[in-house]
């Protein structure tokens, strides 16, 4: 079973895990994800891959502690073993297009990293716009700087970069320099929806990566389905990336709330039994 080699807290309620899993590391391509299972009573948690090192045989997972299972993962120690399956999902379509704007918000910055890197390696000009509520929640800044040609930051509270949302920065960028060839946006659903609505009238090709409720991750259960261009698509195998202008974000956001009451039960029950150890986690927006 894969071993957790290194665990680092990179921001409040954000942990970075270095996982030893040579076969996945060798095969991982930008845009793909894994599913982890912590123990035999656990649930299967889809997690994006922030980085991989084929030679070292490791992948890097960045996990925001939002619910029972991610908080429980946060209590694990280096040397512990977990089950990991992957790499799942269809890889990002990487090609030289010209200018690529990568928009990342919150936990969405993690899966954006390998995509930005691949787009830059393919010869694109990569302008990354990263945002968060406050400075310390704009994660992976150094790594993203290395993977991009230019960085723009925004924070809701103005503690870092421009005060405001990533969409404000994107709008300004387009006003100043014209339309980019592609926008790739990964973050909270509401952010991706806002980006899609901004770029749609401008007819800028826009890709989003979705993170829906999932069980097997191989197209068997259909729990992850989203409405894309009027058709039902499975995020786990048809995605996770889709044309942002065809995704029904409103329905997707509602479906993400399917198990809201169960999630709260599990979270409270967990916090009750781990009073002294667990961090409180963060609210999901």
């Amino acid at each position: 079973m894969p071993t957790l080699l290194e665990i680092k807290e990179i921001a409040p309620a954000f942990k970075q895990y270095l996982v030893e899993t040579p076969e996945i590391a060798r095969k991982h391509q930008a845009g793909q994800f894994v599913i982890v299972l912590l123990h035999d009573h656990g649930e299967r948690i889809p997690l994006t891959i922030a980085d991989s090192d084929a030679e070292a045989g490791t992948i890097t997972l960045v996990v925001q502690e939002v619910g029972k299972s991610t908080m429980e993962m946060g209590l694990m120690s280096e040397g512990d073993q977990i089950e990991v399956v992957g790499p799942l999902g269809t890889p990002t379509h990487v090609e030289k297009l010209g200018t690529c704007v990568c928009v990342g918000g919150g936990a969405g910055i993690a899966p954006l990293l390998p995509i930005a890197r691949a787009m830059k390696e393919a010869g694109n000009e990569v302008v990354s716009i990263l945002g968060g509520r406050t400075k310390e929640l704009v994660i992976l800044r150094d790594e993203m700087t290395e993977a991009s040609t230019e960085m723009i930051y925004t924070t809701d509270d103005g503690s870092f970069g421009a005060k405001g949302f990533v969409t404000n920065a994107l709008e300004q960028l387009i006003e100043e320099r014209g339309k980019p060839d592609i926008v790739i946006a990964i973050g909270p659903a509401i952010m991706m929806k806002a980006v899609a609505e901004m770029t749609r009238p401008l007819e800028i090709s826009t890709v989003v990566s979705l993170n829906t409720i999932m069980i097997d991750g191989t197209g068997m259960c259909g729990g992850c389905r989203v409405s894309v261009g009027g058709d039902s698509k499975f995020v786990c195998v048809d995605g996770p990336e889709f044309d942002a202008h065809t995704v029904d974000f409103d329905l997707m956001m509602k479906r993400q709330r399917t198990f809201l009451s169960e999630e709260n039960v599990a979270r409270l029950r967990f916090l009750e039994s781990h009073k002294c150890k667990a961090t409180k986690g963060t609210e999901v927006s």
């Binding site: 009573h41 069980i215 068997m220 729990g223």
Partner: protein, 482 residues
């Protein structure tokens, strides 16, 4: 033993009925419904067999168990010998004894059944398998032939894959089974519920395969972590068997199917069976089922969903099926069990639209009344809508149990693999070899959704095909030349 029974006396013995949990008790638990024969019942039932010289039952068995021979040993009370005979042909007897549709196979052609009820072959198989486990000793498996040095990869650990693996291991080949999920068994663990097939039994029987030398790798998605081609080039296998099943859920394509509370049967059953969602929050995966539940479809999978919903505490459980009870594809035994458990069957009823509220949660369904018209391609009378006859049902959960297709994950990633228009793999029926030399396939991925035992039967045929291919075409194991 007393005097030998005459043929007439044998046939006149009543078929022993299976003790079951009382319906009103069992809808409150997930324990097995059928409790199994006692030794006395098993011997009496065995006495009913005429030991025909030309036994038709053996031909009726997809894996060709020597049925009269094992039943003969049971008449003598030698359960150990009886089981050894079964295991020569079938290494998963406790599973097959429970989930095979014997009424359409061995028992359908049983000569006793011409005039009386057929010998309860399936229940006898189950009895001896359970008997061995109850003895508590070492489980005896057939002997493995000397090592051949050939390596075979099996993709998928469902019934087809497990049967192929066992057969190849007995023939001395080195076998590795790759499973995408974190537990072995495929549909036996994610699909079939605990009350019909306890997961402990699947675990035990898969464990027995390990004794035969079969190796199992979990969390390994062929098509992602390694392609079929790479199993040959990078993993050094001499042959590959694809048994990935019918894992693609079908939806109806009616409005409202993406609302919260609409599940595929696969999702609903996986949450409950594989992830143990019935025991949330002790297990982390919730099911999220409501109080008024409808299941669309009337096959075995639909029966499993209906009866699972009942056990999870649904107040109302409705079956919506567009044909009638007579056309229902479920096993009669499953249908009867569901009826005993107070499922509300609405025949000739087909959903046309699902309603939801502002939160996108299901609130109800509009049902179209149907009537039976002319027979269609399947030979069954085609359901046609009765104009103007629609009604609404208030619901919070609706489960689609209308069938599954072939999961395209492996087939799409395998270049040169010939598929039919439904996406099933095309094979040579004699050898089960696909359009790619050395790549074999069997089970639901070839036939479309069918039964556990048909998949196992296909696995046995494929094992024979693979064995011949290795010896006559490959000749020298890759591991030896590498």
């Amino acid at each position: 033993m007393g005097r030998e029974l005459t043929k007439k006396e044998r046939m006149e013995l009543p078929r022993q009925s299976m003790p079951t949990q009382d319906p009103m008790d069992r809808i409150k638990n997930f324990d097995e419904v059928a409790l199994g024969f006692t030794a006395e019942m098993a011997i009496t039932e065995a006495e009913r067999c005429l030991e025909c010289k030309k036994p038709r039952c053996v031909d009726g068995c997809p894996v060709g168990i020597d049925i009269p021979a094992f039943i003969h040993e049971m008449q003598e009370g030698d359960f150990e010998k009886a089981l050894a005979i079964i295991k020569q042909a079938n290494t998963l007897p406790a599973i097959c004894g429970r989930v095979c549709p014997q009424e359409d196979q061995c028992e359908q052609v049983c000569v006793v059944g011409n005039k009386y009820k057929p010998v309860a072959i399936g229940r006898l198989e189950r009895f001896v398998a359970d008997w061995e486990v109850a003895q508590g000793g070492e489980i005896v498996m057939p002997e493995r032939q000397p090592e051949t040095g050939f390596k075979v990869a099996i993709v998928g650990s469902g019934p087809a894959g497990l049967a192929t693996a066992a057969e190849l291991a007995m023939r001395g080949h080195s076998v590795t089974v790759y499973e995408a999920l974190h537990k072995p068994g495929g549909v036996l663990v994610y699909g079939i519920p605990e009350f019909r097939l306890p997961k402990k039994i699947v675990e035990d029987e898969v464990g027995n395969l390990k004794k035969l030398g079969v190796e199992l790798r979990y969390n390994f998605v062929v098509g992602k972590i390694a392609s079929v081609q790479e199993l040959f080039t990078e993993y050094n296998f001499d042959a590959v068997f694809i048994g990935t099943g019918a894992g693609l859920p079908y939806f109806m394509g009616i409005p409202g199917e993406d609302y919260i509370g609409v599940y595929s049967a696969n999702e609903f059953l996986t949450r409950v069976n594989l992830m143990k969602g019935f025991d949330f929050p002790a297990f982390d995966t919730p099911v999220g089922m409501g109080r008024r539940v409808a299941v669309v479809g009337s096959g075995n999978v639909a029966m499993d969903c209906l009866r699972t919903a009942k056990r999870l505490g649904a107040e109302e459980v409705i079956c919506l099926y567009r044909r009638t009870r007579a056309e229902s594809p479920a096993r009669l035994e499953e249908l009867e069990h569901a009826e005993e458990e107070a499922i509300d069957f609405r025949w000739l009823s087909s959903p046309v639209e699902i309603y939801g509220n502002d939160d996108a949660r299901v609130t109800g369904v509009r049902v179209q009344k149907m009537e039976l018209g002319e027979p269609d391609a399947s030979g069954r009378r085609r359901p046609v809508p009765i104009e103007g006859e629609q009604y609404d049902v208030e619901l919070d959960t609706i489960i689609m149990g209308i069938g599954q297709g072939p999961n395209p994950l492996v087939t799409r990633s395998t270049e040169g693999l010939e598929l039919n228009r439904w996406g099933n793999i095309v094979v040579d029926e004699e050898t089960m070899m696909t359009s790619i030399p050395g790549v074999f396939a069997g089970g639901d991925i070839v036939t479309g959704a069918a039964t556990v035992i048909l998949a196992m039967g296909a696995g046995k045929v494929a094992a024979e095909g693979i064995d011949t291919y290795l010896r006559e075409t490959v000749k020298v194991p890759k591991a030896r030349t590498a």
